[in-house]
């Protein structure tokens, strides 16, 4: 599904990722953990194609295609979804309108029929239950006046509607209380299947209690320094990131 090789990337001329390698197979859930400043969000943004992030070396192959050569919207249409750490507000743009436009852009790309308003609403209602959002929410502006938790749930809701092949969650758990955390994890678990891959980026292990990954990677100083199964997350939680940093330092 996704193959990242020797990725060097950064922002404003400053390199943050120093040769990152990552392979995500179809149907797998990977978690990337790491201390602040290790390059977690840079990875998420580079994969989604956010402007201002520059790739200086390396390659990213997605379903056999050069992902880095694609525009952000083409990546999205090809099934790459980024649940953002800080979802922006788009005042006055109705949630329903926005998401319907997005879904139909994706469906058109897949060669599927566009949904009309009624069909879309039916789908939206169904998916909304997953994330425990009230229907009145569909008539509000995109993220306009949403609480932090609502914004994150909206990201998961959008993900559920768009049904991406590769979902990337950039610290979706940050700032959430335990109930919201469960909702978010539930949304992702619902997406899980042999056709969907997920990359969960997080600082804390707590989300991984509800959303159990197949693989865990530790990112430090722009590289993946340790990979393992879900147990690695627990080990990290007990020993803290210093443990990894010391290990990395001694290995040099």
């Amino acid at each position: 599904m996704l193959d990242v090789k020797n990725l060097h990337a950064g922002i404003d001329g400053k390199e943050i990722l120093h040769g990152l390698n990552l392979h995500i197979g179809t149907g797998e859930v990977h978690a990337i953990m790491g201390p602040n400043g290790s390059g977690k969000s840079t990875l998420a943004n580079v994969l989604a194609g956010r402007p201002r992030y520059e790739v200086t070396a390396g390659s990213v192959t997605y379903e056999g295609k050069d992902l880095l050569a694609m525009t952000p919207e083409d990546r999205a249409r090809a099934g790459v979804f980024l649940a953002m750490q800080y979802p922006v507000e788009i005042p006055g743009v109705n949630n329903t309108y926005f998401l319907k436009a997005a879904l139909n852009a994706v469906r058109k790309h897949r060669g599927e029929e566009e949904l009309d308003a009624m069909e879309f609403l039916e789908l939206a209602r169904q998916k909304m239950k997953l994330v425990d959002l009230d229907e009145s929410f569909m008539n509000r502006g995109v993220n306009e006046g949403f609480s932090g938790g609502e914004k994150k749930r909206n990201e998961i809701f959008q993900m559920a509607v768009l049904d991406p092949k590769l979902a990337i969650l950039d610290e979706t758990d940050s700032g959430l209380d335990i109930d919201a955390l469960r909702v978010v994890a539930g949304g992702v678990n619902n997406l899980r299947s042999e056709k969907h891959s997920v990359l969960v980026i997080t600082h804390y292990q707590r989300l991984l209690k509800y959303l159990v990954p197949d693989y865990v990677h530790v990112l430090a100083d722009g590289r993946i320094v340790k990979s393992g199964r879900k147990e690695l997350a627990e080990e990290l939680e007990q020993k803290g990131y210093e443990w990894i940093e010391q290990e990395v330092a001694s290995a040099r």
């Binding site: 956010r50 201002r52 953002m84 922006v88 309108y97 436009a101 852009a105 768009l162």
Partner: protein
């Protein structure tokens, strides 16, 4: 990202074409003879010629105003032609008699008269250059006693009404451009809704500037008699031209007791090319007078013209009268707009609402200039003003000049203002969901303008949204 915005902002004008219809043009220059010629061509009564001449004499003593926040090369008023009319000018009974060339032009613009007639139930008074060519739905309107015709026709057929109301809201001495218009106005629309009649359809006029070097000076007069209601639409596109074209229109609205006038405009005149060359100079005077319990509401979407100078205003003369102004003004490339409104509260319990949305892109400069005046007599007057600016890119500018004058302490005034920028973050968010940058910009801008769009009649709102998309496709960054 910023390159996408630039591309979008620098889109070429899509409606740039000219059609070859022979025009009957006056020699360049302005003097009493020209005014007499115009008046004679139109077979006008003596009083109207006198009125024009008074305006001309007054105009010669006036100075072009310089207070607006717009910059342009001095206009040589003696180099402009003040009259042009399509030559094949006979009375037309049906659309089939319209010059085929003209019909083609309308079709290119997507406003086939027949379509309009058949599909939308909109009566269209098409102003092609200066002379009205076709007027539809007359018969149906006539049944209700509604008069909707070209200004010239009104002068011939309803001289008393014209004489009574012409200049009653915008006197010929009003301002430099209105005075010029009073002297040389060519044609326009006239509309009268009799007492207690609710006009059953939206009345619509499409304007189009054509002959090169011809200034166009429309004159529109709408009178809603006691208890009447009318919704009037004005929409325009113009062909691409190299030299600047002067446009100085006057619109007068009269809402008598308990009447209501809703006036909506979508304006898309040629804004000039990417370097700011060419484009229409649009100096318009629009004003309405509201009598007791009446309401006047202006809604405008301004996307065109190199220079826009326009302040649709309301004189709230009668007690309990209401004035509204909803505006979207877009400036892209090198466009400049100085636009806003005046709300003059004279009667008791008068209320006014101002919602202005300015969008600047490219090198565009957008100024809001608004005046709210509460006179001594205006007991319990209320005004709400909201003034928002949206910037696309970092080369453009937004300016706000609110003037508030309150002479009665019972007045309640509210003013809100904001300036925001379409952020890279917003664009990226949309793109990450599969929406192109172009569509994203148009979506974000529409969201920004929603309070104004919802005031427009349905079909017009759709058109306005499309237009905004087109002008900002190059202009939103």
């Amino acid at each position: 990202m910023s390159s996408t915005i630039e591309q979008l902002a620098n889109q070429e004008y899509k409606y740039g074409f000219t059609s070859d219809i022979e025009a009957d043009v006056a020699p360049p220059g302005l003097n009493e003879d020209i005014v007499r010629l115009i008046s004679a061509k139109k077979n006008e009564p003596e009083w109207l010629l006198e009125w024009r001449l008074k305006a001309l004499r007054h105009w010669f003593a006036m100075k072009e105003p310089s207070w607006a926040n717009v910059h342009y090369k001095t206009i040589d008023y003696q180099a402009i032609r003040y009259y042009s009319a399509p030559k094949k000018k006979k009375k037309l009974d049906s659309l089939d008699q319209v010059d085929p060339e003209l019909r083609k032009t309308f079709e290119k613009l997507g406003i086939s008269l027949e379509e309009q007639k058949r599909l939308s139930g909109v009566a269209v008074d098409a102003v092609f250059d200066s002379v009205s060519v076709a007027t539809t739905f007359q018969a149906e309107l006539a049944k209700l006693g509604i008069i909707f015709c070209s200004f010239s026709d009104a002068v011939q057929k309803h001289p008393d009404l014209v004489r009574k109301y012409l200049g009653s809201v915008v006197p010929y001495t009003d301002n430099f451009f209105a005075t010029l218009n009073s002297a040389v106005f060519s044609d326009g629309s006239f509309c009268y809704i009799p007492k207690g009649v609710r006009c059953p359809m939206e009345l619509s006029t499409y304007f189009r500037i054509n002959t090169a070097g011809t200034g166009q000076f429309e004159r529109t007069l709408i009178v809603a008699d006691e208890g009447a209601y009318v919704s009037y639409l004005e929409g325009c596109t113009a062909p691409m031209r190299d030299e600047n074209q002067l446009h100085a229109a006057v619109v007068e609205l009269v809402a008598l007791d308990n009447a209501q006038i809703k006036y909506s405009t979508v304006q898309n005149w040629y804004p000039g090319d990417k370097e700011g060359k060419g484009g229409i100079f649009n100096f318009v005077t629009k004003r309405g007078k509201a009598f007791t319990n009446s309401k006047i509401s202006w809604t405008q979407v301004e996307t065109g013209s190199a220079i826009t100078w326009k302040y649709p205003s309301c004189i709230l003369q009668g007690d309990n009268s209401v004035g509204e102004f909803y505006s979207v003004a877009v400036t892209a490339n090198y466009q400049q707009a100085d636009t806003g409104t005046k709300m003059i509260h004279i009667g008791k319990n008068t209320r006014s609402t101002i919602v202005s949305k300015g969008i600047s892109a490219g090198h565009g400069q957008n100024s809001y200039r608004g005046q709210v005046k509460i006179m001594k007599t205006a007991e319990n007057a209320r005004n709400y003003s909201q003034c928002d600016s949206l910037l696309l890119g970092d080369q453009c500018g937004a300016h706000t000049f609110p003037y508030i004058e309150v002479r009665n302490s019972s007045a309640v005034m509210e003013h809100e203002a904001s300036t925001s920028k379409i952020g890279e973050d917003q664009l990226f968010y949309c793109q990450q969901r599969g929406i192109t940058a172009e569509d994203a910009v148009s979506m974000i801008v529409s969201g920004f303008c929603r309070e104004v769009f919802r005031e427009l009649p349905m079909e017009f709102a759709v058109e306005a949204q499309k237009l905004l998309g087109v002008s900002l496709e190059g202009a939103v960054g």
